[in-house]
């Protein structure tokens, strides 16, 4: 009987040290796309011979990892953000704790996946190389993550997460959220937003050393961030200010230096009147870019697609994430 691909869960847990897989995963949940991966660098040996055929294949490297997308479950979201940012500072008392994330050494993680109800795989000594949160209108907030790993168990034993989130309704939603943007000042103002995303990328140096085709180390390097917001404006004053740097409308020449703006977005837990779960994301210093809109024959409302490059203010982070939920620690 074929394996049923509908039956699939992804699990994750934070390791305290490199080299020791954590069993079982802390959380598990379904995926909207992606999964664990095992890539191999395979090529026929480049060699002349007595025939036009090649007799050997060379396996030069293997790369365990994962690329996954799921709803942003509010319990697990903090662990994802910790994996991508590195430091979690928790304040507050039960039932609402506030997790403030900042950049630091990334934790090693153990990742799990089940498939078809009978197959299990895991990778560990994994690091998160990219995290993206996105939403469209009022659909559930999605989290996309990309991982690299040093170790793998292609035949992992059955696992049951400590906190299963399968089919949970406790995910982030734009409904009830707030959306603010300003393209030329540090004080964002409420905007009519259709969609948006925020991305944190950890440049990851993954190398295979002599002696094994599995990766020897994964070293995080440069941190970059990106954000975008699609806005329906009442006028093009913000666009003009972003170009001219003049506070009032009417600036006559493009500015010769970057103009920094800002944004602030809050997203709330789906269907929860208590709203313990809130994600507040801010970019205090963002260089925004936006194409001048074109007329259209359909006569639809003009939309501005703002693409931002957040940078860190002194002592800060390019993108600041503050998550309030009922989880005390990860």
């Amino acid at each position: 009987m074929p394996l049923n691909s509908k039956l699939g869960l992804f699990g994750l847990a934070k390791q305290t040290v490199k080299g020791t897989q954590v069993t079982p995963p802390l959380y598990s949940h379904g995926l909207s796309s992606g999964g664990l991966a095992h890539d191999r660098s395979l090529a026929p040996q480049a060699l002349s011979s007595g025939a036009r055929t090649t007799g050997q294949t060379i396996l030069s490297s293997q790369s365990p990892g994962a690329t996954v997308q799921s709803p942003a479950y509010v319990a697990a979201l903090g662990l994802y953000l910790l994996a991508a940012m590195g430091v979690d500072t928790v304040t507050g008392t039960t039932p609402a704790y506030t997790h403030t994330f900042s950049h630091g050494a990334l934790p090693w993680m153990s990742l799990y996946q089940s498939l078809g109800g009978s197959e299990y795989m895991s990778v560990y000594d994994a690091k998160c190389s990219e995290l993206k949160l996105s939403w469209s209108v009022d659909e559930p907030v999605l989290i996309d993550t990309t991982w690299v790993a040093l170790s793998e168990k292609p035949a992992q034993a059955t696992f049951t997460a400590t906190t299963p989130l399968d089919q949970s309704a406790a995910f982030l939603s734009p409904i009830g959220g707030t959306f603010q943007l300003d393209a030329s000042t540090g004080t964002p103002v409420t905007a009519t937003v259709l969609s948006g995303d925020m991305t944190v990328t950890n440049t990851m140096d993954v190398e295979t050393a002599s002696g094994s085709t599995m990766p020897a180390f994964a070293q995080e390097g440069d941190i970059t961030a990106a954000c975008s917001l699609v806005v329906v404006p009442d006028d093009l004053g913000m666009w003009q200010r972003a170009i001219t740097g003049v506070a009032a409308r009417g600036g006559t020449t493009p500015a010769e230096s970057p103009i920094y703006g800002s944004f602030a977005v809050t997203l709330k837990e789906n269907l929860q009147p208590t709203n313990y779960a809130i994600l507040a994301t801010t970019g205090a210093k963002v260089m925004w870019d936006c194409a001048y809109p074109s007329p259209s024959t359909a006569g639809a409302a003009v939309q501005l697609s703002w693409a931002g490059i957040p940078v860190a203010s002194a002592g800060g982070t390019p993108l600041a994430f503050a998550l309030t939920n009922t989880v005390a620690t990860y």
């Binding site: 979690d88 928790v90 304040t91 002592g315 620690t329």
Partner: protein
């Protein structure tokens, strides 16, 4: 002199030190003579405005040169 830190509110820190993780819990109040892991966490909390070293040593002002040395310097 014992190093003393003032913690503004109960706080938990989860951070990395190389390949290992450090997790520290501090209650609001004072922390005296923190160990090495706590010290890393406290320095992080200070950068976040959640802790403050209350008896931080201030750099000593260079002692005023003696009259004899001054004479030497001007010779």
């Amino acid at each position: 002199m014992k190093k003393t830190w003032e913690i503004k509110e109960d706080v938990h820190v989860d951070m990395g030190d190389g390949d290992r993780r450090i997790t520290c819990d501090f209650a609001a109040g004072e922390v005296e003579d923190p160990n090495a892991d706590d010290l890393l966490a406290l320095e992080h909390l200070e950068s976040q405005g959640l802790a403050k070293q209350v008896n931080k040593e201030t750099p000593k002002t260079p002692a005023k040169a003696s009259a004899k040395e001054d004479d030497h310097a001007t010779q």
